[in-house]
Structures are given as structure tokens and as C-alpha cells.
Symmetry: C2
Subunit: 457 residues, 2 copies
């Protein structure tokens, strides 16, 4: 795999920027961004300054937003302005988005008027909307052109386009009328008219659409770049697959963090400031802790029973954890199925039926193991006393009820959250476990009172 | 959004397959696959038979493997053979992979000899390897050609190619020497030589590489199709982004299922057979239950203490759940960071330092709340008796220790699993909770004995 490597550190220490110029021939912007990312910030600026502007803009787009800001601030105003003008509009929107208001204004003022117009427009779309991901760098073709003319047009104006894999056909009013893969143009003979290749069947995103819509649309369309239109169908930009992939990965991370019982991080684990991380984690832990305090109240309610039969206390952790485990398992499965679009709100009853069945069987399995364990121990020791059979029965039956209750709560909680307009992924394992713990205690002690009244209790 | 709809049910009930033929003009294979997927299997075959073969193969590729097999089995041998010949090699590999041995042999025998050779070759690569995803439908160019000749070649032979976005340059021995985006060809003047566009810098996958490698490489390369070479650098196929996305989504689902304490499902939640689902879930639940049984043993160990101070039992659920929650939170964060390539094995010490800090602070927060709660209740009632301060101190201090222990275990378990060559995602919330529960009890009762000896104990 002939990947060109060169030593950026040497270039920097020897201020040998012609070596850098030579190396650039064989270095992609993403590769150079990786190298730059590893050097200290004070060394980044000189390297950066020595790059051709367009290349510098490309490299910048691959750096994390934080580094982008630091770098731009370390450049002279004129240099920064030139690079900002060259940046792809979607990456620039992301950068501006991360800036405090006053800095954003300052950077915006640096832009060429036309670029500033584009930037302000894309910044005007709501956060997490498709418009925020859109770029205006794409190729527009007209239906009455021949392929030959279209290819000449691409050769001339395609250089800035973010993709040439997909081309956009517009009418005289700028309205999008079709989307063509480059494949169709390449396979058709040069004198064919664009109109003859059109099938007028395409998917267009709305600028105000949620970014999740774009993920779904891209998955279904098999295109690497989708058009974004305004309410009148006028093409205002395109969204490319790499941005969508980033959004999709970020959303999955968010889901997983929430499932783990934490607020979602907005930075990588090793980069997020410690205090910020602790704050994001403390919130849920405290809420769960407060919820879990109810277990102490519930236990207090049964203090008399525990005093009479301390043996009951021994199984409390086992009992409640079984409810928690089965519940968080069910919740996780349902949350993921929802995220993948396999399960919808209307499916709640189908899911419930499945979970009643699963819960009963899983409960029966654990109940049987629990019963056998107590029976077995009692055969060899007197640890559970003369009423071991009733204790075993209590534990076994309580387990069936608790596991069933756990799977039901765990599987239904995501539906309830979604119905309330909340994120189903908030039904984290710890959340479900906490929810099930208190009720688990009640089920357990109720079962115990039922079976042990008159003997141990 | 002009999306063409037509009523497949009417077509079927009226056997009006010419209407279908007309509709096909405006229907993409994926859209028709969706429609077919909603009709009963016995109606699918006639629709399918009426499609042009190439189109039928395209539609088939969008159906789930199970439907593919049912459909092919419902067709006559000659029809099935023709469609199998037309299928993209990568989709065909996936289909053959899902077949029992005897059926695979039968289907393989139906193929044209050249296609059979391709199929057998790709099936020869290890499961989960890049080779299994590879297709042989791509465009090869030679470095001494002009752009004009290359475009003519594409026009003539590009029809079957899975992508025309990326082109592969090979030398006379079939060795891959460069990869070009179509963009470069489109922007260069027609008389330019291919060799002049080459930079000899490209990323090639090895057929035996793990599929995860491909995800990572695609993320970095910004290409929509990566070449696959054998040990000698000879190009044997390409892998396209859609297959990679499927693999990536499947791996994330696997991770999430494991994090939820279940074996990963290989089918969507609503489709997997109930008994199969219960089996996948029961495994971990039983293992966790057996592990959790140690809590009963541990509690038995402290039975004398509980008998003397039943009040201690009241806080058991609260205490152990706090350890479990903080542990599963930490585990989830680390597992996701590993999956995203943000954290590597060598970072274990950095992670541990962060978690010691986080654990201490989080523990202190929960400890303070726990302490205050007991203090507050005691101010208004006599529920915790005269020694409420010592009890509050026990709970508070135990919480610091347990939360710290939880975050440490949770964050280090993924490292240990990875070090052992196991999947870090197996450090599920329930697994961590179970692990922490037993030790949590020991920490709690040890703290209690320390603070309460001579008073309550």
C-alpha cells in the first residue's frame, strides 16, 4: 500500500517548507490534517500558512472544530479570510456554529460578500436541520443540454463541486426537476439530451427537515449526495454522505451513552474536560440515586418481616438484580429496534405480547434455578432452617413475577418515552433497573407474606 | 417529491403484468423490493417472473436473504439460474452464505461456469472478511490510455460496474497501481493520459482483512468504493460503501445488544422467532443470575450483623445499585469510545486516572446525598434510632468506596476483555452490575463493622 509518509516534525524544526510543498504532491488533505493534528498548536500555524489556500481550506475541514478556531485565530486576518472563503459551506456552517456570537460576527465580516450571503443563509436553518449540513457546491445541469455539453460544463465548473457522482437538473426558475447519477451520463452517447435520461423520480430533502430524515433517506436512496430544496422546490444545496455518516455516528453514540445511563457527551471520551464529564454523568446518577432511595423506604416498610426472618434479606440483591437485568435487556433491544426503524409506536402491542411470553419463560428459568439452589443447599446444610421449601417456593415464584415485570417495564418504557415526545434511548439499563427495584421488592415481600404467613412470618 | 406509486396488489389480483411493465419505467429496484416485501410469498413469484432478468436480479438484491431463498426456490430452475447469473457477486456471496450446504451446491451448479468461478472464489474467503463483501463488477483502466479512450471504455463496459465513481488503474499483470475518482477524469481535458492523473497514493484492502478494517478505511479515505487486492497486490474486487454501511450498522447493533446484556440478534426484533430470541436472552441472564447468587452467599456471611442491626439491610438495594449504575455508565462510555477508535488498549492508564477522579467525585456526591437523607429523616423521626449518625456515616462512606469501585471496574473491564481477545462490548450494564454487587456488599458491611462495632454491632 504505497502511502506516502514524510516527517512533519523535521519540516517544522528546520522550517523547511519547500520539503512540505514537495510532499503535498502525494499527501491528501485528510492525511496532512492527521499529521497536523499531532503537532502542537504553535507549530501548526506556520505549516498552515505555507499551504496553497485551497489546500489549506481542505485540510482545515478535516480538523476538529476546536483546532479550526485556534488555527484561524493564529493566522493573520487576511489569511484567515482567504481560507474561510475557500471552505466548503457545510463545514463552514459547522465551524461558525461552534463559535461564540461575537467571534462568529467577526469571522462572518471577513468573508467575501457572496460567501457571506451563503454562510448567513445556511446558519439561518434550525440546529439539527438538514439545512445546516447543506453545501452550495454542486453541479447544476439543464434538461435541454446534450451529454457532450453537460460534460464540458462539468469540466469547466465542476472543480469546486463537492461531488460529481450526482448531478442536479434544474429548470429556468431554479426548481429541481431531477437528479442524475454521473453513471447515466457516462453510459449514454454524447449526443443524447439530458432530458432523455431523466425519469423525474427523485428524493429531495427539505432544508428544515430533521437530520435523522436525511440519514433514512440516504439509506434508502443509494445516492451519495441528496438535494436540499426550499418549500417551493427550488434547489438550495446538497447534503453529502460523509456528513450524514458523521451525524449517524454521533446519534448512535448519543443513544449508547443514554442507554448507559449518562447524558450524551459532545466530545470524545479522552478529550472532554474532566469536570464537564463528571457533570454529564452526575445528573443521571443523582436522579437514579434519588429514585433508588425508595428502596430504602420500601425495605423499611418490611422491616418487621425482615426482623422475623432475616433469611429473607439474604435474597434481596439476587431478586432485584434479576428484575433489573431482564428489564435493561428488554429496553436495550427495543430502543435499538426503534433506532433502526424496525419497531414503531404502533407496534407496542406486538412487542408486549412477545415480552409477556419471553418474560414468563425467562422468569421460569431463573425461578427454577433459584428454587433448586435453595433446595440443594438445604439438602446439605441447615442454613435455611426447617421451612426451606417455603423459602425456595417464595424465591422461585417471586422471580417469575419480577422477571416478567422487568421485561414488561423495560420493553414498554421506550414506547412511553417516545409517546411523550422524549428520546426512547433514555430508558437506560440503570433507569430501568431503578424503576424495577422498588416494585421488585414489593413483589418479593408480598410473595413471602403469602407463602410464609403462619410459619416464619 | 414526485415519487411514483402504483398498486401492486391490483396488479397481482388482476394478473395485469403489463401495468407492472409500465410502472417499472418509474420504479427503482429498491422501491419495487419494498412493495414486493409487503406481499405474501405466493404472490411474489408471478410478479418476479414478469420482470426483465437484470431488473429482477436488482430487486432480489434489496430483499432480505430469507425472501431471496424462498423466491428462488419458487422459480423454475432456468429462471433462478438466469437471475443468479445476473446478481452482483457480493450480494450473491451473502445469499449463498445463508444457505445450507446442499442447497448452496445446488444453486452453485446452476451458475454459468465463469460466474461459478467468481462465486466459489469469494465464498473461499473467511467469514467476516473483506473478501466476502467484494464484487468483481468494476471498471479497470490502463495508465497509458487517454481520458477520451477511458471514457469510451466506460461507456462500453461500465454498465455492469457497481460504481463509476471510482476507477481502478491496473498494470499488465493485473496489479493495482492506482485508484482514481471519476471526478479527476471529468475535470481533465480529453487528451490527458491517465498516467498524468495518477498520484500512486491509494488505500487497498486485503481480501482476508477483517470487515471492521474496511469500515475504518472507508471512513478515512472518503471514497465510496475501496479496492480489494490479494497478497501480490493483484486487484480481485471492490467493496462499496453501501455494504460497509450495512456491516457498520450490524456491528453497532451487536454492540448495543451486548451492552444490554443479551447475545446479539441476527434478525430484527419483530422477525426473530420467539424461541430463538428467548434462547439468546436466557444465556446471559442465567450466567448473571448464577453470578448474582454470590450475593446471597455474601449476605449469608453477614447474617449475624443483619440480625443485630436490621437497619443495615434497608440500605442494601440502594448501596449495590449505586455501584452498578456508576459501573455500567463507565463501561458504556469506554466501550463506545473503543468502538469509535477514540480509546485504545494503550490508553488504559489515562482512562483509569480519569475514572479515579470521576469515581471519587461521583461517590462523594452520592455519599453526601445519602448521608443527608438519613440525617434529615432522623431529625423528624426515630426510624434509625440513637445511632443515626453512625449509620449515616456508614452509608455515606460506603457509597464513596462503592461508586469509585464501580467506575473503576466498569471502565477497566472492557480493557481486560479486549486484552483477552474478547469483545469489550460484552461488559454490559448487567454484567458490570453483577460484578460490582458482591464486592459492593463486602465494602458496605466492612464499613459498617468499622463504624458500628461496639454500638449497633
Amino acid at each position: 500500500m504505497p502511502q506516502n509518509r514524510f516527517d512533519l516534525e523535521t519540516v517544522i524544526s528546520e522550517r523547511d517548507f519547500t520539503a512540505l510543498g514537495d510532499a503535498l504532491q502525494n499527501l491528501s488533505p485528510s492525511a496532512l490534517a492527521d499529521l497536523i493534528g499531532e503537532t502542537p498548536i504553535r507549530d501548526q500555524a506556520p505549516v498552515f500558512r505555507s499551504l496553497p489556500r485551497e489546500f489549506a481550506a481542505d485540510v482545515l475541514e478535516y480538523l476538529p472544530v476546536r483546532s479550526q478556531i485556534e488555527l484561524l485565530n493564529s493566522l493573520e486576518q487576511k489569511e484567515a479570510a482567504a481560507i474561510l472563503d475557500e471552505m466548503a459551506p457545510d463545514d463552514r456552517t459547522r465551524l461558525f456554529d461552534a463559535l461564540p456570537d461575537d467571534e462568529r460576527e467577526r469571522f462572518l465580516a471577513l468573508l467575501r460578500p457572496d460567501e457571506r450571503g451563503v454562510a448567513v443563509r445556511f446558519l439561518g436553518f434550525p440546529e439539527d436541520s438538514v439545512g445546516r449540513l447543506a453545501t452550495s457546491d454542486y453541479v447544476r445541469l439543464r434538461p435541454d443540454w446534450t451529454i457532450e455539453r453537460a460534460l464540458a460544463h462539468i469540466r469547466r465548473y465542476g472543480n469546486d463541486s463537492e461531488t460529481l457522482n450526482v448531478l442536479y437538473i434544474i429548470d429556468e426558475s431554479g426548481k429541481l426537476i431531477d437528479v442524475l447519477r454521473i453513471r447515466k451520463l457516462l453510459l449514454a452517447s454524447p449526443e443524447t439530451k439530458i432530458a432523455d435520461l431523466m425519469d423525474n423520480s427523485f428524493i429531495a430533502l427539505q432544508a428544515a427537515d430533521d437530520q435523522e430524515t436525511a440519514i433514512e433517506a440516504m439509506r434508502r436512496s443509494d445516492l451519495t449526495a441528496l438535494p436540499v430544496a426550499d418549500e417551493d422546490g427550488v434547489l438550495i444545496g446538497i447534503v453529502t454522505v460523509d456528513d450524514i455518516l458523521d451525524v449517524a455516528a454521533a446519534e448512535t453514540t448519543e443513544d449508547i451513552h443514554k442507554l448507559g445511563g449518562s447524558e450524551a457527551f459532545d466530545e470524545p471520551y479522552l478529550q472532554i474536560a474532566l469536570t464537564r464529564m463528571v457533570r454529564k454523568r452526575a445528573g443521571w446518577l443523582v436522579i437514579l440515586f434519588l429514585g433508588e432511595m425508595l428502596t430504602a423506604t420500601a425495605m423499611g416498610f418490611y422491616e418487621a418481616e425482615i426482623e422475623k426472618a432475616v433469611v429473607l434479606a439474604l435474597f434481596v440483591p439476587l431478586i432485584i438484580s434479576s428484575g433489573g437485568n431482564s428489564g435493561s435487556q428488554a429496553a436495550t433491544l427495543v430502543v435499538r429496534a426503534m433506532a433502526l426503524g424496525e419497531v414503531f409506536l404502533r407496534d407496542w402491542w406486538r412487542v408486549m405480547r412477545r415480552e409477556i411470553f419471553s418474560g414468563l419463560i425467562l422468569g421460569a428459568i431463573l425461578g427454577a434455578i433459584g428454587f433448586s439452589r435453595i433446595a440443594l443447599w438445604s439438602a446439605f446444610s441447615n442454613i435455611y432452617g426447617e421451612h426451606w421449601f417455603l423459602i425456595a417456593l417464595t424465591v422461585g415464584v417471586a422471580l417469575i413475577g419480577i422477571v416478567l415485570w422487568g421485561t414488561l417495564s423495560g420493553s414498554m418504557l421506550p414506547f412511553i418515552l417516545r409517546r411523550l415526545g422524549l428520546d426512547p434511548a433514555a430508558s437506560s439499563a440503570p433507569f430501568v433497573a431503578t424503576l424495577v427495584d422498588v416494585t421488585g421488592l414489593i413483589i418479593y415481600f408480598t410473595t413471602a407474606i403469602f407463602f410464609l404467613r403462619g410459619t416464619l412470618l
